[in-house]
């Protein structure tokens, strides 16, 4: 994973709440065995609507999406995060995210920034005409108009993003602790392995 420090540029002012994973990437795109190329199916149902933000040249190739409550709800499909990454989106700002989606986004270097609805509303307004900057070092979202909103993020995730850590590699380095846990598990709850 490449380190992430700032995401700056135009933002799709989507605004909708409960944007579910079937909207982000419909199931018929899930029959792939690779991670690549899913951007072509991203937001397919929304893109059928006239005047949608994703086909508006004013926001072409924007790296940020601004949405309503509960973004990414529904399925655990990481294809949703892969689709966003493939369309060049590296940050989503919303009042809340589904837990599974925000985990998937993080693992693909996509920032999920939680801000209160009033601040999201302000950013939706700014995004119509101007760029937005997200700074992970200072945990702030700023606009050219002196807006400055701070956000909270899980310290572990922030650290991984800033340093571009490979989580599997990190965990494999803890192999001794895992082996020790497995020994005590075999003693305390022998049925877990015996049944298997």
């Amino acid at each position: 994973m490449n380190p992430v420090h700032t995401v700056a540029g135009k933002a799709y002012p989507l605004g909708l709440k409960n944007v579910d994973t079937d909207v982000i990437i419909p199931a018929h795109y899930l029959k792939t065995i690779t991670r690549a190329g899913l951007g072509r199916g991203a937001f397919e149902t929304i893109r059928r609507e006239a005047g949608n933000v994703f086909d508006d040249p004013a926001f072409a190739s924007a790296p940020i999406i601004i949405a309503g409550d509960n973004f990414g709800c529904g399925s655990s499909r990481e294809h949703a995060a892969w689709a966003l990454a493939d369309m060049g989106v590296t940050a989503v700002i919303a009042p809340s995210f589904s837990d599974i989606f925000s985990g998937n986004a993080f693992k693909n270097g996509i920032l999920t920034v939680v801000l209160p609805q009033a601040q999201v509303d302000r950013l939706l307004e700014v995004a119509r005409t101007d760029p937005i900057t997200i700074d992970l070092d200072t945990c702030t979202v700023t606009t050219p108009f002196q807006d400055r909103f701070t956000f909270a993020i899980d310290p572990f995730r922030r650290d991984c993003l800033l340093n571009g850590q490979d989580e599997i590699g990190l965990t494999m380095a803890m192999g001794d602790a895992i082996a020790s846990y497995e020994r005590s598990m075999a003693a305390d709850r022998p049925w877990l392995s015996a049944a298997a």
Binding site: T45, S75, D99, I100, N104, I168, M174, G175, I178, A195
Partner: protein, 478 residues
């Protein structure tokens, strides 16, 4: 004296491999279910990095999402290939990856094949007090066994395959207590739809829900699996119900359940898992069972719930302006007008199945309504899809297949079917389906498809009347 702990805290504490200073924990995973859709990229990742599966013995693979539910073998017993090239390729990838990495694999034509969330409990693979993951959000279902079970993305699937652990932050806890007596015609699906309607689709975000109260204590394991299955539709990554005698009786003598002295030891530990008196939840929601009616969804979020006696709501009736916008969009998509009685809405498709409602009790409940009746002429397709080969066989032993077939339903092979539009079972654009599945999202059952989430009994009632219907009127008449 130790601090009283909730069921969730006890399972969590028993699985901490290492606690990091920032509060994140490395959590051991006892059971990993793998299916064809969310695993190919994870196996490819292992291959590229030259990594092995750490505990193939704790991993079980079974295809379900994109298998067609029509016959899988021909008259001579030969496998019928999947026509869809991409689906066939995903299935082939799992068939290659499972043996290559030494993982137990239940293949597409095995008698035990079925939806992962039906197969896990049925085989005794999903046990109380375990941590269970799968690359599928409805893994929350296994919480009905008293397991901490949740869906993960493909990067996490790869992480679990390589390390048998996940790095997680503890969740907040929410108690959803339902006490009292459920009314006639009200089942587990109605209970969970009512809960989601109450807390909202994001109400459980950041929480693990524990369902408590006599309604869940008196519920069968199948019903508990239905309730926990839909926890994710209320935003909670996991739902839990304390394991008890009902759970133990269900698990006894399952193929992968513990045996002999291990069984006794396991039961003793499982009994110790129930939430201690005095343990605190971060949030408590209390519901009176008498307030729960047979219900269904009217919109495109699982929180859009009304009783079957209700009407299509007016978007202006919602206090939240963003909900007003969402409701308006939902009604446009659903082709519904505010004020219309739900029971006056005709349906063209019926789906009884999915990891939410495809177990034997679900089929019995639907068959009880369908028995001696006929699918209405305006219904173009009515599918009954058992959750596993074993459910199918049991239903056939009980004669339920005959009831459905005589009524005009199609009796299919096990799989995810019409829940998610990844296999040939789809609802055409603009058509309306009474479905026992879990999601009424835009396009979920096919592009342009309109979904009303209902219980199995209500789906059968809709099938035989040709419109959304109050099952209580049919059961009384019967």
């Amino acid at each position: 004296m130790t601090k009283p702990r909730t069921l969730y805290e006890k399972i969590w504490d028993a699985h901490v491999v290492e606690r990091r200073p920032d509060g994140t924990c490395l959590i051991y995973i006892d059971r990993h279910l793998v299916h064809e859709v969310t695993s190919p990229q994870a196996f490819e990742g292992l291959r590229v990095a030259g990594r092995k599966v750490r505990r193939p013995d704790l991993t079980l693979a079974v295809p379900d999402h994109n298998l067609p539910t029509t016959a899988r073998v021909d008259a001579d017993g030969r496998r019928i290939p999947i026509a869809d090239v991409e689906s066939a390729q995903q299935l082939a990838a799992l068939e290659k990856n499972a043996p290559e990495f030494g993982i137990r694999y239940i293949d597409a034509v095995a008698p035990e094949q079925g939806i992962v969330h039906v197969v896990g409990p049925e085989q005794g693979f999903s046990l109380p007090g375990t941590t269970i993951v799968c690359g599928d959000s409805h893994t929350s279902a296994h919480g009905g066994m008293g397991a901490l079970a949740f869906g993960i993305g493909t990067s996490e699937v790869e992480h679990v395959l390589a390390t048998q652990t996940l790095l997680l932050s503890p969740s907040k806890t929410m108690e959803v207590r339902v006490e009292g007596k459920l009314g006639a015609g009200v089942g587990p699906k109605d209970v969970v739809l009512h809960i989601i309607g109450t807390i909202g689709a994001a109400g459980g975000t950041g929480y693990v829900i524990e369902y408590t109260g006599n309604v869940f204590r008196e519920m069968s394991v199948e019903g508990r699996l239905t309730v926990c299955n839909m926890s994710i539709e209320g935003g909670a990554r996991a739902g839990l119900i304390a394991p008890d005698e009902t759970t133990f009786a269900y698990l006894k003598d399952r193929p992968m359940s513990p045996v002999g002295p291990d069984w006794d030891k396991a039961v003793a530990w499982w009994r110790s898992l129930a939430t201690d008196p005095g343990a605190r939840y971060d949030k408590v929601v209390t519901i009176d069972a008498a307030d729960i009616a047979p219900c269904l969804t009217w919109g495109t979020s699982p929180e859009d719930v009304v009783p079957i006696t209700g009407v299509v709501p007016d978007p202006a009736s919602f206090a939240d302006p963003s909900k007003q916008v969402a409701a308006k969009k939902s009604l446009d998509y659903m082709g519904l007008t505010p004020g219309t009685r739900m029971q006056d809405v005709p349906v063209g498709y019926i789906f009884i199945g999915s990891c939410t409602n495809s177990r034997i009790e679900d089929l019995r409940a639907a068959a009880a309504v369908a028995k001696g009746r006929k699918v209405a002429p305006n219904v173009r397709q009515a599918l009954v899809v058992p959750g596993s080969g074993l459910v199918k066989r049991q239903a056939e032993d009980e004669g339920l297949d005959r009831v459905f077939i005589e009524a005009g339903f199609e009796w299919r092979e096990p799989g995810c079917s019409m829940c998610l539009a990844m296999n040939p079972d789809k609802v055409p654009a603009g058509e309306r389906c009474a479905s026992t599945s879990n999601r009424n999202f835009v396009g979920r059952q096919g592009p342009g498809a309109r979904t009303h989430l209902v219980s199995p009994a209500m789906a059968a009632a809709a099938a035989v009347t040709g419109h959304l219907a109050d099952v209580r009127e049919l059961v009384d008449a019967a």
